[in-house]
Amino acid sequence: MSLLQKERDVITRNEYADTFDFAEIENFIANAPKELFITHHFKKRDRLLVQPRGGFPTYKKMFELYETFMGADIDVLPLTVDSNTRLNDYAMAQKMLRLSEENEMDMLNGYPLVNHGYRTTRKMITHFNKPVSLRHGTPDARLLVETALASGIFEIEGGPITYMLPYSKNFPLDKAFLYWKYVDKVCALYSKLNEPINRESFGPLTATLVPPCIVIVIQLIEMLLSLEEGVKSFSVSFSQNGSMMQDIVTSNVLKKLAREYADTFGSQDAIINLVYHQWMGAFPRNKELSDQLINTNTVIAAMVRADKIIIKTRDEAFGIPTMQCNAQSVANTKYTLRTLKGLPVMSDAEEEENLELEVRALMDAVMNDPADTLWRKVFNTIKSGLIDVPFSPHIINHNAVITIRDDQGNIRIIDKGKLPLPERCFAYEKSKVNLPESKTEVINKIIHDIGAML
């Protein structure tokens, strides 16, 4: 038995999980209908796939949610897990699930997938016969992902950086790399049986004034880490940042460099997709205005030629949306996309050249680290502040980079911390902004820029 299989036996042997029958699971995946694989839909490249977020504690309510989504002609179903499961606290998830079932009240903010188990969940997934995407935020997602794949969930979001730096203060980053390596290995293993399993990175990060060069570098790194383990389909992603032009520039550079780096690292056969997240910052408390913001986002998603869009709802400012509200948002987005025709192809040579230079400089810093493995190079680079995510709570992150918006809404770097940006790039960034004289005003502008959509 291989070491990986032995490890899988240990990981899946858990008090709160189903007893795993790997032979049966392999058989299920090998014979699963193509419709369940998002990769099958990506291949057609005939439309922008629409996916909301959503998860309820009980099977019954989750089933209702999916039924409601199906009524809105949904492309990709979401499965968002609860926060106990994200912290691997299955005992608490179990307790809260029981309470939710007994009291018809939602005591969890998502679906406790491990506790429900794959045998139960698979019935629901196969019933709807739509691709399902797993959304979580877990540094150690080994058991969760095993359960998801066995359930028929063939798209796994997350990564060692994008699910760590925005959410955790002190989970050791080196361990997160190790645990995501396992996830990628298992995804790669199952990818040989049928259509490939899709891995997706979480580009929005902290969703707070993160400059495009940081987003792109982290997307490229997580892509390379997955491809290294044999993953054959990967989605890079980012979220609306507040300037349509900067989104287009980001998309053009990200697409170009993702392909280039994948090829250079020997993954010419890997499929790379682009996912666009609607605005991930604070939403207005006015629902009509929220609808407008969502609609604008949909237009930009089409402009950046994304393969999938992850949408928000008009209830965003108020917590977990009702299923009806969520489904309405899917229907609205689909309508906008259906009626939006004849989009121009846009680019900005100067901006793209500058962004590309920045990204290459940061990638060089990673690759030039003397460590012998890619993940260790990345670890060292983050630890030394050469990669720095604004507004991350994690103790390893330097938090020295300061960004602000220019008059066009573009996010610009005004303090580069230890980012190894070429002088000319940094000069370009700074030349775009007119900083107020008073430092207090600069802070006020940053506060204003964070809440750009309020």
């Binding site: 490890e7 240990v10 858990n14 002190n170 103790i395 390893i396």
Partner: protein, 397 residues
Amino acid sequence: MSKLLIDVGSTYFKVCQQSGINQYFRDFNKDIFDDLLNKCGDIFSNYAKEDIYICSSANGGLSTLIIGLTNSFSLKFAKNIAFNSGINIIDTILYHKIDEAKAPGELIDVVILVGGIDGIANVFDEKLFHFLRNVHYNNIVYVGTKQDAMFLSENIQELKVLGNIITEKLHVNGGELKEYLTNLYQADIVGKEDIKHLYAITANQIYSTPYIVNRSLPLIDANFDVVNPFIVVDIGGATTDIHYSRDLVRDNIVSESGFDRLVFKKLGVYKSRETLIFAAKNNEFVYELLAYLNVTENILEEESEKALRILMQLSIFLVLYKVSRLHPLYVTLHLEQLKTVVLTGGITKVLSYEEAESIMQFFYKKVLGLHAIPNIVMDYEYAIWTLGMQNDTASRS
């Protein structure tokens, strides 16, 4: 190119060649070198001095006293660095309580003084010198604020001053102190007459065993059926070492290796037998535990093979108890997330897998309320140290 690896323990010699590991019970009437030569002399003749690597835990480790300004920074950082440098015996004193503190009776190998970020001054005063007058120590090192270094050097003879272990962002910077302590430990090992002679057969530096084990941890899961997060429990005659994956504990230290070490200094089945029994008798679970093992309290006073096994089971229980949330001291490990327990050291020669499993089941059910237990790996051959040694040879060549 094959190498010969030798671990000199307090009870056994372990000798590792390509063909496998052999163990030899030590003859305490003999000098270590003579004993080793007597038992394995013919093996040495097959290897060049450059290909023989030795580590030792026979000297029992260094004793340390740490005096620091706060729990969350000075003491926590210094303890972390000391444990990871292979230092065993640690007492700590919070500086603002130094007036009430009692000086340790025994001779201390190294006193560590720490407090304050660089830039602040007058952290330490007369109280420190007064206290130190009653402490017997061989070495003393200062790793606190730069501004106090001069003042302390003027008042403490032979004070070694190193870079501050607390950075200006209040993070840990352990490099210099770790190197100093590791070297001190090395010097202590080779300073022992017995060990010094071993340089007759090796051209390589002799390391301490805890240091070597720590180095092997990142390699373990690739070589054994060990799944992260894991702990390695080394229950010895005098002390118990525990090495653990850092994701089992959530403290705000950015570390290098992903693993930390902790030592229980008076928990062992031979030399520390008395304190082990004392701790066991005072544990809230002891009667249930003895009933579960189907023995009575009297067994603890017996000198039988059976008593030894029970004692070892008790020690596994106590170690886990001491790092569980029921015992909030230096660290609390999230044992419910633990995937593997590696048992190594003397106990693997006595306890069966079933006996280890049964005590783990008791612990998990009683203390954590869980029925599923982590995977248990018995390091029967005490092979973990060979990984760290081999790694050492690989990185040097």
